[in-house]
Structure formats: C-alpha cells, structure tokens
C-alpha cells in the first residue's frame, strides 16, 4: 500500500478514527492491530520475519532486564567490601555475561537480514571466483524477496536491544507493546529509524486528539506528496531516460540528469518521510527528524549530518563509538602515534572506523558492488577532508580569502553538491563501471550549447513538465532557505489570515491533483528507499 495511493489515505482515515474512538488505555492495541493490517497488505508470508525479530528481541531484552536487576541488588550488597579493582572486575564480568545474550540476538537478527539481502550477491561473486580458479564447485544462488522495511525495523529493534544492554532503557515487558514499537506502520516502510526512548511513551500512552497536531500532520503529508508526486516522479522521467541510454547522451546531459537525480532522490525520500511524519502526527506521535536541507550542506560530513539523519545517528551510536573507543583501536592509536607521529596517530581511531561505517552504509543500501564503491567514495572524501583540513585552512589564510561572506558559503554549498552528485551517479548507474564511464563522459563530452537548442526536450519531459519541475524545485528551494534561516513555515502560515491560509492550502491540493505524475504506467508504490 503506497503512501501516495488513495488506498493509503482511506486506510489512514479509518485507522485514525478507530484510534480515537478506542478507550484511551487500549489505543495502543488498536494501533498494533492497524500496524499488522498494514503489514498484511504487503504479504502474509513476511510476517514470519517480523515475528522472529519481535520474539527474539523480547526474550533477549527480558533476560537482560532480569540480569541487570539481579546484578544491581547483588552489587549493592557487595559494594562496601570491594576495592576499585574488584569493582572494575565485577563490572567487566557482568558485561561479559550480558554480551552472551546480546551477541547471539544481534547475530540472529542481522543474520536474517544478511541472508535475505546479501546471500545471492555473496554466492554469485564466490561462484565467479571459483570459476576463475577452475574449481568444479558451484554454490546455489537463492534470490529472496525482501520483506517490507526489514532494513529499517531490524535497525530500529537492534538499537533498542543495545539500549537495554547498555542500561539506557528498561525493557518493555509487554510483548504487544514491543511489537507495536517494532511495527509502527508510518515508519516501517522507509523510516525514520526511531529510538525506544523517544517513541515508547508516545506509542503506549494513548494520545488525546490535538487539532493543531493533526492540522500540521495533514499539511506535512501534503508537502511530502508534493515533493514525491510533483517533483520526484516528474524528475524520475528525465533521469530514467538518460540513465537507461547513458551511452547515447553526451556529458552535459549526464550532468543534468545526475543533478536532477539528486532532486528526485531527495523529493522521493524526504517526501516519503514527510508523509510518514505527518501520518504519525495524526496519532499525536512526533517522529525524529530525518532530513535537514541536505543540499545546503557546506561539506560532506555536514551533508551526512543532514541526510538520513536517523541512519547516520544509528551507525554513530551503535557502531562508530564502540569501534573507535574499543581497546583494539585505542592500541591502534597508540601504535600509530609511534609510527606516524602524534597528529596521524590520534586520527587513526577515528579514520579507520569512519571508513568501516561508510562501507556499512554502502552495503546497507544494497548488495551490489556499486553500493560498496559508494561507501568507499564517501569514506575517502571524509578521510581526505580530515587529513587536509589544516593545510587547506592555511592555504585559505595565505590567499587571504574572506570566509565570512555569502560567496564563500555559496562556494562551499556548490562544491559539496558537486561531490554529492558524483556519489549519486555511482548509486543510480546500473553498475560501478557504467558510473565511471558516465563521469568520464562528463569530462570529455561537455557541450553546454545542447541545452539551449532544445536538448532538454529530448529527455522525456515536454516544455510544460519542465516548467512545472523547475517551478516546483524553486518552491522547494525557497521553503528550504526559509527553514535554513530559522523560519518555521507551518507555524508562520498558521499566524496568517484565514483567506490567505486557505489560498495556500487549496493551491497545494490543486497542484497535487493537476501536476502530480499519475497515469496508467505510473506506480506510486515505487519509493526508492522502500527498496533498501
């Protein structure tokens, strides 16, 4: 059931009505039933994976919770007789015991994800290797269909498991409530990846209807649908045309298509997130922010702080910090200082885990070499950025460049956009090799003239569609700049006169009806990140 379908709108209206007519204390049960009905539409066979994650996490977190409680009591009783070393040893021993519960559960759940998502890729590549080695073995290749949202709900649930292990949250003892947290339907399709500490109370408490929240929710959903249907799906026509026949288009067309793909991806993903966030607000639930105007970022690290924020935060909290602060990387840092000097040595425990994180972010997107290349591309940019930060600052000072002015800020934004666009070519092209060929073409076949002689009209969109796309992008840019300046658009709009507000609302609705990309061949279900 696609977020932009009429079926979803009807489902949502019914779900909201059911939620608020249910007595307050049972509202979470209604929400759980609604979630499972939503998930049922994707196929009943996928429930097995959702249940496996729910049940395994429930058992593990309850076990951890009991261990933590017992340990607290035992430690309090023994504390007076323990010196500092003995306390340390106690803590280390307890951590080891907790890990015996944590690690098998992580392996089980990430194992399901790995088998479903990566087994075909691994088997195919191993077969290629075996063929090259002339080995008379061929591994079977299983192609599984990915259950809806498995990458998202697995990460969200494993985040909760680690939080219980770290004693940051107390485990939920009602399996129904845990199931609700895992399966909350607005977030299960493509995130945001929520934290238990932020979502649990909102999900379980039984929220009262808030007109203000519901109004903002509907507005956000309309805005999300605008980004998806008017911008992303229209931009997608141009992108598909060029990327499908990349060898017949020159470098200028490829550059235009790559830039338009950036717009498409942002419209598609952030539009979907806006719809999810707005839908959650109808139930009185605030989701975490997943985007903060990423294309206004001034550097690659800044971009990753603004793009898919909840995934980045997940990797930061659950992978980057544990890796960087592990004994192994502490040793690497010390050894590094001896070998490479203080500056590089100190950076090693940051740089190597950073590279690992981007490799993981790459393969999170899919089981293909191009995603691994995408991860390395970003990892390399970030590492180079850190290594050359000081020399570049020195150069800027030597050249007496004023960095406190708008033009420098704009330069930084454009520079980041170019680097991000190159990265997007890697993920959008059919293979890494093709993306390299496309980038090569952008360098050697550059001819800006084609754009001014009707060239843009050969990319699948007519004049009217191009005008709508450009105008819609300008609207998006204006809103983004307002937000970047700290202006809260919905709140500001709410303070305007009734007539003005309704002119805006009706314009939004009519622009969706008139300019949304629909039609026989159009399938609104195809949210790009849904596939990840």
């Amino acid at each position: 059931m696609a977020f932009t379908s009429m079926q979803f709108v009807m489902f949502l209206v019914l779900a909201v009505a059911l939620y608020y007519i249910t007595p307050k204390r049972y509202r979470w049960v209604t929400l759980l039933v609604v979630n499972y009905v939503f998930y049922y539409f994707t196929g009943i066979k996928y429930f097995i994976y959702l249940f496996a994650t729910t049940i395994s996490t429930y058992i593990a977190t309850i076990k951890l919770g009991n261990m933590i409680e017992q340990n607290k009591v035992a430690f309090q009783a023994a504390k007076a007789e323990l010196d500092r070393d003995a306390k340390k040893a106690w803590k280390a021993n307890f951590t080891k015991r907790k890990r015996r519960v944590l690690i098998p559960t992580l392996l089980f759940n990430f194992g399901i994800l790995a088998v479903l998502k990566y087994s075909a890729f691994v088997s195919e590549n191993l077969n290629l290797l075996l063929e090259k080695l002339s080995a008379p073995i061929e591994l079977p290749v299983f192609h599984f269909l990915l259950p809806l949202g498995i990458s998202f709900y697995t990460f969200q649930t494993m985040g909760y498991l680690i939080d219980v292990y770290r004693e940051k949250v107390t485990p939920e003892r009602n399996i129904g409530r845990l199931a609700l947290f895992i399966s909350f339907f607005p977030t299960i399709v493509q995130g945001p990846i929520g934290r238990f500490s932020a979502l649990s109370t909102q999900l379980f408490v039984g929220n009262d209807f808030s007109y203000q929240k519901a109004k903002f929710g509907v507005q956000l959903m309309l805005w999300g649908a605008f980004k998806k249907l008017v911008i992303a799906d229209r931009a997608g026509v141009l992108v598909d045309t060029v990327f499908a026949s990349y060898d017949t288009y020159g470098g200028t067309y490829i550059a235009v298509a790559a830039l338009v793909y950036c717009i498409q991806l942002y419209g598609d993903f952030s539009g979907g997130i806006d719809i999810a966030t707005g839908a959650a607000q109808l139930f009185g639930i605030d989701l975490e922010k997943n985007f903060e105007r990423p294309y206004l970022a001034t550097s690659i690290p800044d971009f990753w702080r603004r793009w898919h924020i909840t995934l980045g935060a997940w990797f930061r909290d659950y992978v980057f910090y544990p890796l960087s602060l592990s004994k192994f990387f502490t040793k690497v840092g010390k050894k590094g200082r001896q070998v490479f000097g203080n500056y590089i040595g100190k950076l090693l425990p940051v740089l190597i885990p950073q590279f690992i994180i981007f490799f993981l972010i790459g393969i999170w997107h899919g089981a293909e070499w191009k995603y691994i290349a995408f991860g390395f591309y970003n990892g390399t940019l970030i590492v180079l950025g850190i290594l050359f930060e000081q020399p570049l600052q020195n150069l800027v000072q030597k050249l007496k460049i004023n960095t406190a002015c708008f033009s420098w800020h704009l330069f930084q934004i454009l520079r980041t956009l170019v680097l991000v666009t190159l990265g997007k070519i890697i993920t959008r092209a059919p293979s890494f090799g093709v993306s390299v060929a496309m980038m090569h073409s952008m360098v050697v076949q550059w001819d800006t003239d084609v754009l001014f002689h009707g060239g843009l009209l050969q990319l699948g969109l007519d004049v009217q569609d191009l005008c709508v796309l450009v105008f819609a992008c300008l609207v998006l840019l204006c809103v983004s700049i307002l937000q970047e300046c700290g202006i809260q658009v919905r709140e500001t709009l709410a303070k305007q006169n009734l007539y003005f507000r309704w002119v805006i609302y009706l314009s939004a609705v009519f622009s969706l009806i008139l300019f949304g990309v629909y039609g026989l061949n159009y399938n609104a279900a195809d949210f790009i990140y849904r596939g990840f």
Partner: protein, 75 residues
C-alpha cells in the same frame, strides 16, 4: 577543571567551553571531537570511557564532562 579546559581548548580552540552549555546539542562538538576528547580524558585521568557513556548529557558542557570524569574516577 583547568586541566580539562586546556585539553578541550587543544582539541577545539575555536569553541568557548566556559560559556557553551550545549556543546553536543548545538552540534559544536561532533563525533570526531568526542572520540579525540575521550582518548585524551582516558589518558589524563586514568579512566575508561565506554560507548555507553557517550550521551549528549555527558558532553554538553565542560562541567558535565568533569562530572563524568569524577564519577568514573569514583567508580
């Protein structure tokens, strides 16, 4: 506290650690700064800071960092 402020100033000379009380929430300190800072703190104060301790509340101000250090020294 003076030693801590000195360490902080070495890592990020551009930040006013005495005034800023939202170092993490405002994005002033990023994950790289925190990992570098943790390395320095562990060495200077002979403590172990794990990933579990990396929460904004522990790093939002120089006072919060000092409180973390004191707590870990007492543990």
């Amino acid at each position: 506290m003076e030693t801590l402020l000195k360490i902080l100033a070495e890592i990020r000379p551009d930040v006013d650690f005495e005034e800023n009380k939202e170092l993490v929430d405002s994005g002033e300190l990023d994950s790289f700064d925190i990992v570098t800072l943790v390395g320095e703190l562990c060495e200077e104060y002979d403590i172990e800071i794990g990933a579990d301790d990396i929460v904004p509340e522990n790093f939002n101000s120089a006072e919060a960092i000092m409180a973390l250090v004191t707590r870990l020294q007492e543990d």
